[in-house]
């Protein structure tokens, strides 16, 4: 019996060691070269979508498996920290209408029946949420730095997921965002734009799923008042 206890203790010890190694590997092995660094920046990254900035319109292309969809994505930040995102076809037919609340909840206002699949809406809303950066103020980010450069990564923990925002020294807006699960990269988003002129485009690509989303900003020529 004592031998059996010892054997169990050893197994538990080994399990804990593996768990600790595994947990540690989770956080940094996905980002080789980066290491936690003392808080040199006090300002957290800022979303490209500012409250009360009016709506932004994007020409949107979605490639899911072998299927291609295109349409217009409208992003309307409200005066608080919520966002309304509506996806339409070019001819005006509404595909989905989602509201991203400050507490990270997503309220579905409308989804066209043909695409009303829980997993699809969950994935799309997760991707949109990553680029909107909504609900980030709920957690304090950890700051990672790279030994070769001055760019900083802000890591936000959200349950099993981690959101990473890459920010260069010259700006407070991210040029890349990544979401990881425990052991794998899930999705990455690249932001293109300039602080002065705002966002130009966003490219989102999944690592484990054949899904990519591209958003190209449309500069509207006029507003019509009726």
């Amino acid at each position: 019996m004592p031998g059996r206890d010892r054997h169990m203790s050893l197994s538990l010890c080994l399990l804990w060691t593996l768990t600790l190694l595994f947990a540690n590997a989770c956080s940094l092995s996905l980002f080789p070269g980066y290491h936690p660094q003392p808080d040199t920046r006090t300002v957290a990254p800022v979303s490209w979508f500012q409250p009360d900035s009016g709506h932004l319109l994007f020409n949107t292309k979605i490639d899911l498996m072998k299927k291609h969809f295109s349409g217009l994505m409208v992003v309307q930040p409200d005066s608080g920290s919520a966002y309304r995102v509506v996806f339409l076809t070019e001819v005006g037919l509404k595909i989905f209408d989602l509201e991203f609340l400050p507490d990270r909840q997503v309220k579905v206002h409308y989804v066209l029946e043909a695409i009303n699949r829980k997993t699809l809406i969950h994935t799309l809303s997760g991707d949109i949420s990553l680029v909107l950066m909504n609900g980030l103020s709920l957690t304090e980010p950890e700051i990672l730095g790279h030994k070769d450069g001055r760019d900083v990564i802000f890591r936000y923990r959200n349950g099993k997921e981690r959101n990473y925002y890459y920010v260069s020294e010259s700006t407070d807006k991210p040029y890349q965002a990544r979401q990881t699960g425990c052991v794998t990269n899930k999705v990455r988003a690249e932001f293109y734009g300039k602080p002065a002129t705002g966002l130009d485009s966003i490219k989102i690509k999944h690592d484990n799923l054949r899904l990519s989303i591209e958003l190209y900003r449309i500069i509207e020529i006029e507003y019509v008042a009726e």
Partner: protein, 214 residues
């Protein structure tokens, strides 16, 4: 008098600020059969239509509407070219039972019969041009109105599933030439898409190449 004003003013203010797609004629059409007959005659005489259009998308969540402009061509039988030029480019051609879609860099071609949505889209667009949509009382409740400039037709889908997507389609026919001058598609929540046709030219020579998939 004061009491009346107190009652009327808030109502008047509410009506003034109420956002509705546009004022719609509410006088019931006197001669529906005559209107339909004129529409059939017009349809038989018109071989081509060319027009510019302005599409306004109103979403209740947005302070401003989304406006796009483009060009529309129709040539008998069933050749339709619908092209957005501003602020984005997008082209749809329906011809010979096929639908062709061209975006910025990519283009695709489909058989209309392969997709129910394309079938409905084709039926709807050509139905509006040729007036066939008014005969479709199986799918829509059709109501007729008029004012001094337009004939106005309201189509409300019978099917509840369809109404979840599209609550009502309003079509304005110009009294002058019986062509469609405006289409408004109202969604269940009140959001709507209004398409206004301007610079209409009838029976001009539109080459078939305009409807070829290149």
């Amino acid at each position: 008098m004061t009491i009346k004003l107190r009652l009327i003013m808030p109502l008047a203010c509410a009506l003034f600020f109420l956002k509705v797609p546009a004022q719609v004629p509410d006088t019931p059409m006197k001669d529906i059969a005559g209107f339909k007959e004129k529409l059939v005659t017009m349809s038989s005489r018109v071989n081509t239509i060319e027009s510019d259009f302005v599409q306004v998308k109103n979403l209740s969540v947005l302070a401003n509407k989304i406006t796009s402009r483009g060009n529309f061509c129709y040539r008998k039988e069933n050749n339709i070219r619908w092209e957005y030029l501003q602020p984005y480019r997008y082209l749809i051609i329906i011809s010979n039972g096929k639908i062709f879609i061209k975006e910025d860099k990519s283009q695709k071609q489909y058989d209309i019969q392969s997709n129910k949505m394309f079938q409905e889209m084709n039926k709807f667009i050509s139905g509006c041009i040729q007036g066939d949509i008014l005969k479709n009382d199986k799918e829509f409740r059709v109501e007729y109105f008029e004012d001094d400039k337009n004939y106005f037709v309201s189509l409300v889908p019978h099917a509840e599933k369809m109404r979840e997507m599209l609550n009502e389609v309003q079509i304005w026919f110009s009294r002058n030439d019986l062509t469609v001058s405006r289409i408004t598609m109202i969604e269940a929540g009140g959001d709507y898409t209004k398409i206004e046709f301007t610079n209409k030219k009838l029976n001009t020579d539109i080459p078939l190449e305009k409807f070829s998939f290149k």
